[in-house]
């Protein structure tokens, strides 16, 4: 039996699979259920300083096994979120608080609250592609990213993850700006949209959204590989993971752990246990004793 445990920024995970931010992680009971189904940790939905309704429906388009979403960072606001963390923590596993804001102060106050609520780490959403003034608009400005990451790192005791966007000309510039973060999370969704030709109209209320799922896996693998090769830092890989092969591909590209989002739509919550058991068999067959033996082995 291979040892599937791994660690990221010093946080021990019983296996490398985490729930990605924004998918089934707004309600504490749901996060609890996802961890009962095998996820080693969860990342919460991105939470801001104020309550936000997000966009009105349609907020999602199905594109084969992939999705295009424009939820619009809907969230109850950080002050209403303590209870959800408390419920989720009953699983006895790490809970990572994802946060979004437009500047260093905003991120820092959110991070401090997440820490106070008992989160094991904070993930900075520097990459949501469809909300003006947040996410990508923040995350594609290296100076702002540097400011945010340095400020929040100086105030928080728990580790800080920087979640970066694939919608930039040069990810290495942004990664460098975020180098004080304890780990990178790669990637967020790719900006995209859908038009219904019979309705003669964009489908999403916001017109633009973010593409996730299998369609973006080759893009995510490339970013993880490139950033790992050039920076050597710890990485959490995310984007289109729907099978144990996908998870292993991310790990071999350099990820120490991975997150799963869209595949919950096609495979349901059972995906965590399925991948765990198949990854175990794979590692035994291929002679990998532990996850760290696979991390980055494909890098040339």
């Amino acid at each position: 039996m291979a040892d599937l445990s791994t660690s990221i920024a010093g946080i021990r995970l019983e296996n490398p699979l985490m729930l990605a931010s924004g998918i089934l992680d707004e309600n504490g009971y749901t996060m609890l259920d996802v961890m009962k189904n095998g996820a080693a940790a969860v990342v919460t939905k991105s939470i801001g300083n104020e309550e936000r309704d997000g966009y009105s429906s349609p907020i999602i388009v199905e594109y084969g096994d992939s999705l295009i979403n424009a939820v619009g960072l809907s969230n109850p606001g950080i002050d209403n979120f303590a209870e959800e963390i408390r419920i989720a923590k009953q699983a006895g596993k790490p809970v990572i608080g994802s946060v979004f804001a437009s500047d260093a102060d905003g991120f820092t106050s959110l991070g401090l609250k997440m820490q106070e609520y008992g989160c094991d780490a904070v993930e900075l959403n520097l990459s949501c592609p469809h909300v003006k003034g947040f996410g990508l608009e923040v995350g594609s400005d290296p100076d702002l990213v540097e400011d945010i990451v340095n400020e929040i790192k100086s105030k928080l005791k728990i580790p800080v993850f920087a979640k970066l966007s694939p919608n930039v000309s040069n990810i290495l510039d942004i990664a460098k700006a975020a180098e004080k973060a304890d780990a990178y999370v790669l990637i967020n969704t790719v900006k995209a949209m859908k038009i219904d030709i019979r309705a003669r109209s964009p489908v999403l209320t916001n017109v633009y959204g973010g593409l996730s799922g299998p369609a973006i896996k080759p893009v995510g693998i490339r970013y993880v590989y490139e950033v790992k090769k050039e920076t050597g830092k710890e990485i959490i890989g995310v984007g289109g993971i729907a099978s144990f092969e996908d998870a292993v591909e991310y790990i071999m590209a350099g990820a120490s752990a991975v997150q799963i989002g869209t595949a919950l739509y096609t495979k349901g919550k059972g995906i965590f246990r399925d991948i765990i058991s198949q990854m175990n068999t794979f590692m035994d067959d291929e002679g990998f004793g532990r996850i760290s033996d696979m991390v980055g082995v494909a890098i040339r």
Partner: protein
Amino acid sequence: MNRITVERVKDEAKNVRTLFFRWDQKISAGQFVMVWLPGLGEIPMSLSYIGSLKGITVKAYGKVSQAMIELQPGNEFFIRGPYGNGFQVESGRKLLIGGGSGIASLLPIADSETDAIISAKTRDEIIFADRFPDSRLFLATDDGSAGFHGFPHDLLDRMDLSVYRKIYVCGPEQMLYRVMLKLRDRHVNAEFSLERTMKCGIGICDSCSVGGLQVCKQGPVFSIEQLKDNPEFGIYRTTYSGKRISLNMK
């Protein structure tokens, strides 16, 4: 997205209209679709007719449902789905309990061995009563303007439920919860169809969740076992923003 053309409409009550249409798609009783009116929005709707002629019975609440009840034959709307699990329909004697427009999604399982409790705030809001012979129909209104004066769960106290192979319940969560409390200790076989805020309909956005279960994917139909110890059913829901609010029903 499927483009659908309204073939025929039928007014069921004030502000309640059934839209009939053709859609070559197999659907199980209890499943739902997401209805999109471009420019207006998208909302979940159950099917009240699931044969080759399909139907949706809409009650106007807000923007989208209001626009839907204004649709005329020849008008178009868009749907995706069907989604959700649907009822486990069993043969034998059944009882349907439909509160408000909730009776609509129970209609497809009605057969000659089916009894129904149809409840509404007032007489004018009772719908589909004509679909059941008098001998099989129990009416209940909050104001007593028709049938039993009171709520369905109170009516249950007076009924012999042991004759039913299964009880199917659909309506506002308050009603479902109270019915569940009544049935819990009477060892009956029951399924409940829930309605919660639904943004995605496909089990990823968490807006419809109830105690870790996604109403859109693991539901909308749940067995009484799944609900009786559920920490949120009848107790909490989350708003469109995801804020937890108490249903104050205990």
